[in-house]
Every structure is written in C-alpha cells, then in structure tokens.
C-alpha cells in the first residue's frame, strides 16, 4: 500500500476517534442541563466526562496536525476555505474548554448557569459546524486550479453540508445519552434512558435521509454501501437498547454508528480529499497534496512508536474511572424524583446538596 493511502487511513482513524470520544463529550455537554435537573445532577453529568474530555479533544488536534504534516495542501485549502466557520468552531471550543474548569470555581448560581449554558451551546455548535465542514469536503466547494477557495461564506452552507452537520449533531446527542446511561445511576440514568429513546428515533430518521442524500451526492447508484447499512443498523440497535438495562451495548452500538458515519464520508471521498465544484480536474487528491516520501516515512515511524502508547494510557485512564457516578449522599437520600417535582426546575438556582428542599 502506498504511504499516501496509509496516511489517509490514519487521518480517517483520527477523525473517527475524535467523533466517537468527543461525541459523547459533546452529547453530555448538550444534555447535562436536561438529565441533571438540579446542581448536583448537573455536576454528576459533567463529571461523567470530567477526567477524559481534554484527552479526547486531542484527537482533533492530532487529526489537524497530521493533515498539515502528511497533506499540507489539504490542510491549507480546507482551513482557509472554511475560515469563518472555523472561527466559530474555535470560539465554541474555547468557551467549552474553560467552562468545565470555571463553572465550579464560584459558589454562585448565576455564574454556574452562565458557564453551564456556554457548555451546552458550544457542545452543540462544534459537531454541527465540523459536520458542515466534512459534508462540504464531499459535496464540493469552489476551488480553482491553484487549490485556492474562490467562494464565500454562503458557499459553505450548502444543503448537503448542513444535513451532514445535523446528522452528526444528532449522533453526538445519542452518543451522549447512551454514555450518560452507562455512567450514572437513579434518576439521571432514567432520564438518560428516556432521552436516548427519543433522540434515537430522530437519529434513525435523520440517518436514513442523510444516507440517501449521500448516495445522490456521490452519484454511484442507488445501492447503499456496506458502511452505510451497518451504520444504520447500529443506530437502530442503539435506539432499541437505549431504554433497556443494556447500557454498554447501547453505547457500543451508538459509537459504531457515529464511526460508520465519519468513515463513510471519507470512503466516499477517496482518493480525493476535497472536491472542487468548479472543475473535477481541480480536486485535491491524496496524490497531489501529499508531503514528500521521506517525511511520510518519518511520520509513519513516529505514529507506529507513539500510537500504541497513547492508546494504552488513554485506555488505562478509561479503566481507572470506569465506575458509575452516584450523586453525593445528601441528595441521594432525599426521595429524588418526588423532591424535585415539588421544588420544580427552580431548584437549579438553589445551593448544591438540596439540604433545604422542602
């Protein structure tokens, strides 16, 4: 196999790793206000991803840097073409990143609310916008012979790109709901189950629509590819299992579904990496944007040396914090659902622990 192809596969693997891992981080970020109805509940939800979200985000950084190193032309065209969209992604990534750390640093309900909303909104924007971007790669953007983008911001918001963004957003929600069910107990887990069922139903419909649209865009006929079929089956499985005690399987199925979706985008692209809507001759391909042979060899050696180590210690980190998270005794002892029904949603404004709940 050619080095170009190997690096294309590595980059696809990085994008898949990013969406599977950060997928549940984004999902939890979007859902934490809704499954955790009081301060303690929200904290439990956020802490399910606490030790990991930062390490998960690195998959995106390494995906970007690997594109830079292995396919500089791809990195250059893609990042400059998506300019304003990426400005938004960066702003969202920044607010999300600090929200975890800043949220709990003051005991003030409004302060926490602000950062909690920042987390929710940013967690939705990032997969949506990156999804739009990935859809655009396949759908095509106006790119000239010099591989420079010649369009404007409106060109980025084509129908297929938006559809891809929505699909990934919904899949991240499903990923988050199944992850929360896997990592929590009691009321929060119940609400995660309920959310998983509803989101799953939407995800199945959205996914079918997206698969059909993808077939239209790649114009390869009416027969779906195996990845698309397996991905769809996985999402259906995740939905069916979402309401049951099979939390592990539901999460695994959801992960497979999101991996298949990302994989499908790149499989449809190959050997192109960016389609030019101006002229197919201007497409960026793995051959015309790759780095030199020597650089790719060096990078391959580095990847072979470091990737197994990274997987080992990230896996270990997942193993160390594998247990379910329970709310601290103070609120766990109160008859949760009943107590919250009485105080209603306003309880978010109260102090943590629910010690004063009437």
């Amino acid at each position: 196999m050619q080095l170009h192809t190997i690096w294309f596969i590595i980059i696809v693997a990085l994008w898949i790793g990013f969406f599977v891992l950060e997928g549940f981080d984004f999902g939890v970020g979007m859902l934490h206000r809704f499954v955790g109805r009081d301060e303690t509940g929200q904290r439990v939800a956020i802490n399910t991803i606490g030790p990991w979200w930062d390490g998960n985000e690195v998959w995106l950084i390494v995906a970007g840097a690997s594109m830079f190193a292995a396919f500089p032309g791809w990195y250059a065209t893609m990042f400059s073409a998506l300019y304003l969209a990426l400005v938004l992604v960066l702003a969202a990534l920044m607010f999300r990143g600090v929200s975890f750390e800043y949220r709990g640093k003051r005991h003030d309900a409004r302060w926490r609310d602000v950062w909690s909303w920042a987390l929710t909104i940013a967690s939705a924007l990032i997969p949506l916008l990156i999804g739009v971007a990935l859809g655009d790669l396949l759908n095509g953007l106006p790119i000239n012979q010099q591989h420079d983008f010649t369009g404007n911001f409106g060109d980025l918001l084509a129908g297929y790109g938006l559809m891809t963004g929505v699909t990934l957003l919904v899949l991240c929600l499903l990923q988050g709901a199944t992850f929360l069910a896997l990592r929590t107990t009691g009321d929060i887990r119940d609400r995660a189950h309920a959310a998983g069922l509803r989101i799953g139903a939407v995800a199945v419909v959205v996914n079918i629509a997206w698969v059909v649209w993808t077939l239209v865009v790649i114009g390869g006929g009416t027969v779906p590819e195996p990845t698309q079929i397996f991905g769809l089956i996985a999402v259906i499985f995740a939905t069916v299992l979402a309401g049951t005690a099979q939390d592990g399987w539901a999460f695994a199925a959801s992960s497979f579904g999101i991996a298949a979706a990302i994989g499908q985008i790149f499989i449809s692209l190959y050997p192109s990496v960016m389609v030019s809507s101006t002229n197919a001759a201007y497409n960026l391909t793995v051959n015309n944007v790759a780095s030199g042979h020597y650089a790719l060899i060096v990078m391959t050696i580095v990847a072979v040396l470091f990737f197994p180590i990274v997987l080992l210690y990230q896996g270990w980190s997942f193993h160390v914090f594998r247990g379910r998270i329970t709310a601290p005794p103070a609120s766990a002892e109160t008859p949760g659902a009943a107590g919250q029904a009485a105080t209603g949603r306003l309880s978010t404004a109260g102090p943590s622990g629910g010690s004063t709940s009437s």
């Binding site: 606490g50 970007g64 990042f79 400059s80 300019y83 600090v98 800043y102 998270i325």
Partner: protein, 467 residues
Amino acid sequence: MANDLARWQFATTSVYHFLFVPVTIGLAFLVAILETAWYRTDNPDYKRMTRFFGTLLLINVAIGVVTGLVQEFEFGMNWSTYSRFVGGVFGAPLAMEGLAAFFLESTFLGLWLFGWDRLPKRVHLATIWAVSLGSVLSALFILVANSWMQHPVGYKMNKAGQPVLNNVWALFVNPTFVWGYAHVILASLITGALVMLAVSAWYLRKGQHTDSFYRTAKVALIVLIPTIVIQLSVGNQLGVIETHYQPMKIAAAEGQWNSCKPCSFSAIQTGGFSQSDQNANKIIPIPHLLSVLATGTWGGGVTGLNQLQAQYQQRYGPGNYIPNVAIQYWSMRVMAYLATLILLFALWGGYLLVRGKLRTARVFLWLGIWAVVTPFLMNTAGWLLTESGRQPWIVQGLQKTVNANSPSVSATDIWISLSAFVLVYIVLGATDLVLMLRYSRRGLAQAEAEAAEPSAGAGAPAPALTY
C-alpha cells in the same frame, strides 16, 4: 491589508497564548516537586500546597490549551500559502507534538485531577510528572518547528521549488533550536517560580498559613536562583547563535547601522531607529560589550544593518530586509534589564533564606508580590525580538511573510476573526485573572474542603465530583 491584519492576528494570539504557556510548564514542574515532597515526607502541608497550586495550574492550563487550538488552526486559516509551501517539513514536528506531548499532558492531567482517591500515592505522583513531561515535550516540538523558520535545515528543494524534508535529525540539533529551547524552558521555570513566590509572599506578609507558604517560598527561590543565573548565559549564547544565522536580528536589536569592530554596547539611546534617522544619541555607551555579547570575543566585529541590507539585496533581489529596529532594540533591553533585576532580587532572596530572615523580610516580600509581572514582560519581549526580528521573512531566506497569507481570506474576514478572538480573549483573560486572584486569596480553605469532601462514601467505586 489582509497580510498586515493576518500578522496582527498571529502576533496577538501568540503573545496571548504565551502568557499562559510558561506558567503551565513552570507550575506543572513545581507542583510535581511539591507532590514529591509530600510523597517523601508524608507532611500534610505539602499535600495542601500541592492541591492549592495544582488548582492555580488547572485554571491556567484551561486557557492555555484552548488558545493553543487557535494557534494550530491559524496556520491553515490565515497562512495557507505558507502551509502549502512548508507543510512537508514544518508539519511533522507539529504532528509529533500532538502525538507525543498533548495526549500525554491532557490524559494525565485528567488522571491527576480526578485520581486523588483512586490511584495509589506513588502512581498519582507519577501522573503529575507525566503532565510536566508532556508540557516540556510540547515546547520541544513547537520550538523545533519555530527554529526551522528562523534557520531552516534538514531539507532540499524539490522540482516545484518547495522545501522537502530529507533529514529529520537536523531539525532537532539545529543550534537555533537547542539554545532557544533551553532559553524557553528556563524562562518557564522562572515564570512558574515567580508566580509561586508571589502567592507565597502575599500570605507571608499577611501572616496567614505562614508555615505552609514559607515552604513554597523556599521551593520557589531554590528553583529561581540557579535558573536565572543559567538563563543569563543561555540567553547570551542564543544571541551569539543568532548573530551567526540571523545577523539582521541582532544588528537591529543593537541599533547598529554600520559595521563596527570592536563594538560598544548602547545601554540606552534616543533616535537611530529608522533608515532615515540612523544617528542615535547613545546616552550610555559601554565599550567592547556588544562584541562580547554578539560574538563571544573581546574584539569581535558586528556587521551593520546597511552592510547586511546591501548583501541581502545582492543575494535575494531588491527589497527591504531590515526588521523594525525600535521593536528589536527595546524588546532586547526589556528582557535583559528585567532579567538582571530578577537576578539581583533572587540573590537577595537567597541571602535572606540562608540567614533565616525570609519569613519577616517585608520589603523583599512586597517586591516579591509585584515581581510576578516581570516574567510576562520578559517572555513577551523575547518573542517580539525573535519573531519581529525574522521579518521580512516568514522562513528565513525561503519565503517572505508578505507572500505567505491565504489568498482566499479577505481583509473583512480577518477583521471579523480578529475582533472575535480579541473579544473572546478579553472575556477569558479577565475571568482567568479574577479566578486566579480570588483563588490565590481564598483558595486554601477551599483546597482543604475539597481534600476533605467524601467521595460518595469510602471504598465506593464512584469517582468524586471534582468539577
């Protein structure tokens, strides 16, 4: 216009990013030292201090990491011509940085933060050292990349006229990198030590928790004294290296318009900062000092800006190859003079420490609180000197900055992004500062409360609610 704005944006975001990076590198190392002291002595004071300074570290890491994302994206977003041109060489260390350093730093930071009750003491100690190692490694790779822009090595030009990597090892033994890296790591340790010293001094002056903060003041000074001494000579050596590879940078930093031999050093001057005004009014000239600083010899010669300009025009064609002299001159002086003051301050602290008077030295402690401003000024000045001094090149001798920006990105686009980033940075920076100051003042009680908080019952499998 778009090019200028892209430069402004990169300068703004880099300077901002680098306010936080040295604090991370320095504090991670110092927190690791504190935890090691706790591991060795079992003294609960060290555990409290580890948690206390650990939280300051985390507040700071959060913003350092997210502003680093902007830096990585910016190469492709604003400098696509550059990225396309040099990606085959420059991209490799960036990818290595992610794989070898960022994963390490962030994964182990999570393990450290959430692992207090779940990991054996020894393993927990290892996690903070892994964080420190990750932060030091990330600086290594990014400086390999940066040094290649200052002094490109390990490449050949291909048929398309692009640099192609042909010797990766050369990037790591690039003299600009070796000395630049040492310089940055020492600067980070100095920054971390001065932050720790400032917080400790504040408490010592208040007379609160004096036993605990006397320990951290001591640790900070013990790290500060040797690093600042070594730093002065490393910085000096870096100057000699740069005189060799980037003579314009140093000639401009000294405002040396015409060749000299031997050369006197202008300690302070007015005028002489532009081609039309070359005659400086040197208020304090020190004979031979520039020869020593720039060449390491008593009577060494330094080629002047005018002579270099003529050489460059002959070699690279018409154009202006002289960087902004005023920026070079003053950033060099801000860095060198402040470093000298910090050296004297550190020695004074060492003297007080040996005599056992540090705890009650009110003037020294007062100065110690305010000295925390200096590393940020020195770090910023250092990068201005390095990067502004590289101009007009983006990669020395290979590509000019003016030819490197993204053709598809308009001035309007950059106005939007620049305003957005500045706005976000102001919000984040203000929040960060408020939280750091608040936590520095009140955090000790909180650190104790957190340390005492039951983690959902002893022995329960559930991790504590850390966030």
